[in-house]
Subunit: 346 residues, 2 copies
């Protein structure tokens, strides 16, 4: 609910302060002397920056060709971003990992509705909030190597008119192959089930279902890919326990994904497989531009466009009324994404 | 305002009746014995079907390679569609022209707000409406040949609770090159200024401004292309006079566009021009999926997806933080689409 309130806020805000591009990234994007480095803000920022380093290093090593370029900026009233993108590598056509730290404010009325309490407020009152996150999409060249996406974020409001600050965590990692490889799916989902099970045995099933739900492309009757885990508005237990879960999920990214790319990066393929991959890339674009809340939020609120749209593939294709035989590998893939909730990989 | 009400309606309706695909298209998609063929419904349907024939014939002739395939359907309670698509021709990578005739109903409350009158209504009352239109997008292979889009539509509600039926026309033709060719733009805009001037000397300037406004991609600070004309909710004069204008606009499509493709279809180009075209195709996709009211309306209300998304290019590309020198032809193009309202072609 708070998340929705922030969206409402931002839709009215339109433009943030202009960024100052920087060559050297400071140790922290928090506000020096204002934010406590030992607070969750500090812990979460350190976690997501470490994840950015780990994932980029592992992907560069597996690619063996290109390296990530970095664009970093700060904003005058605090916060900033670090976007890293690798384009036209040996293995990946496009891979990006972006960290951002945002200080903003939301209208008091939205906050009141979200919190569900009758807080007295003045017209034009605004409630300060903090948001930090890491997000990433990786698109490999080979149609037998899956695309992978992850996002981990933390949000909090400050204490306001006697109501204690609110907070939540969100995130997930999900995979989008072009073909069904059951071993790959068992590996990917299995590693995330392992992480979930260490924190709450109910979480994997619930978060796998959330993921299938979130990545629906309703106009196609398909999910974008073959799922993973997704959670949002998570604040039902101790903050440090959820932080530990979020950190474990993020630490699992490389192990869940990179071995699948290593395994398939030299798999043979022909023009027909490449064409199919390009059509699936088109579906990826459709989901991200029509339905993805983060993308639409960013586009409509003056976020840094190049960081938001780094998620789009290098190339994509749309063919009119493309027909697929249900007996082919492409047909079997379609059956999976049309019945995502039936797929129990682990 | 009525248009907005129909959008609200449709967003709640979700799914229309399933279509019955047909091999032979009947002379009319109106309801036999119910709709008067001499009414504006009949006149408009005949006009848009003639336009579909004319444009497809001219494009096939200019292509000299592929021909249009046709998919047609009717719906049990009336209306239907005829979609024609040509893919991977000699000159065009993808070209589509779609006609549709829709019978629907909108919630009475939306209708009352739209009409601005205090009409007594019962809960769940719905007001019947009729909508017919033709729409098209053509994407050529050669980066020096422009993409073209047009749409002409007519909408009416039936008499209801003592309030006479409401109606309006909408439409326009617009052009999206990858490079600035001033002669081409003078030709395209000139032919539409000619059509407008025959009906109302104030219309070209107004409708050119509408077009620049409508095709904004706010997150890029660019228009999708180099404009044309665009009108909506047009009902400020005699219905037959506006029909005549809409018909003249539609009859001008071939002359405004096909000569530009004939002129440039064999222009030399290299990989750099092709790459630029693919990036501009990416912008086309961004506009259509994020902002185009017709596309979003169709995707979210159960329209025929393949007909709606025939507007997307065969291929598109997204490169991270692509930089363009302002002195190059690409830079000059960007300057135009970033300052669309300053471009006075005629």
């Amino acid at each position: 609910a708070l998340r929705a309130a922030v969206r409402v806020h931002a839709a009215g805000a339109k433009m943030m302060e202009a960024p100052n591009y920087i060559d050297a990234v400071p140790d922290t994007l928090l506000r020096p002397g204002i934010d406590d480095p030992a607070s969750m803000r500090g812990k979460f920022e350190r976690m997501i920056r470490k994840v950015q380093d780990q994932v980029c290093s592992a992907v560069e090593a597996a690619d063996g060709g290109a390296s990530f370029r970095q664009d970093a900026w700060t904003r005058p009233s605090g916060g900033g971003g670090i976007t890293r993108v690798m384009q036209e590598g040996k293995v990946w056509e496009k891979a990006g990992v972006a960290v951002s730290v945002v200080y903003g404010s939301m209208p008091a009325e939205s906050y009141r509705v979200a919190v569900g309490k009758d807080i007295p407020f003045e017209k034009d009152d605004r409630v300060p909030f903090f948001a930090a996150g890491v997000s990433s999409v990786m698109h490999p060249w080979n149609p037998h190597c899956p695309t992978m996406h992850f996002n981990y974020r933390y949000f909090e409001t400050e204490d306001w008119k006697g109501v204690p600050g609110q907070w939540w965590f969100g995130g997930g990692t999900d995979i989008t192959p072009c073909y069904v490889n059951e071993d790959d799916m068992r590996h990917f989902h299995g590693t995330y089930k392992g992480v979930c099970d260490r924190h709450d045995p109910a979480w994997y099933d619930k978060m796998k279902a959330n993921c299938d739900e979130y990545f629906q492309i309703p106009h196609r009757g398909e999910t974008r890919g073959m799922g993973g885990i997704f959670f949002d508005d998570l604040n039902d237990r101790d903050k440090d326990a959820i932080f530990a879960f979020s950190s474990d999920c993020a630490a699992n990214i490389v192990e869940s994904y990179v071995p699948l790319v290593e395994k398939h990066k030299d798999d043979p393929f022909g023009p027909q497989q490449k064409e199919w991959q390009q059509l699936r890339r088109g579906r990826y674009v459709e989901f991200n531009l029509v339905y993805d809340r983060g993308t639409i939020f960013g586009l409509k609120t003056g976020g840094r466009i190049e960081s938001i749209l780094m998620s789009l593939p290098l190339t994509a294709s749309w063919r009119y009324d493309y027909q697929v035989d249900p007996q082919t590998p492409e047909g079997k893939f379609l059956n999976c994404v049309r019945n995502a909730s039936d797929q129990k990989w682990v």
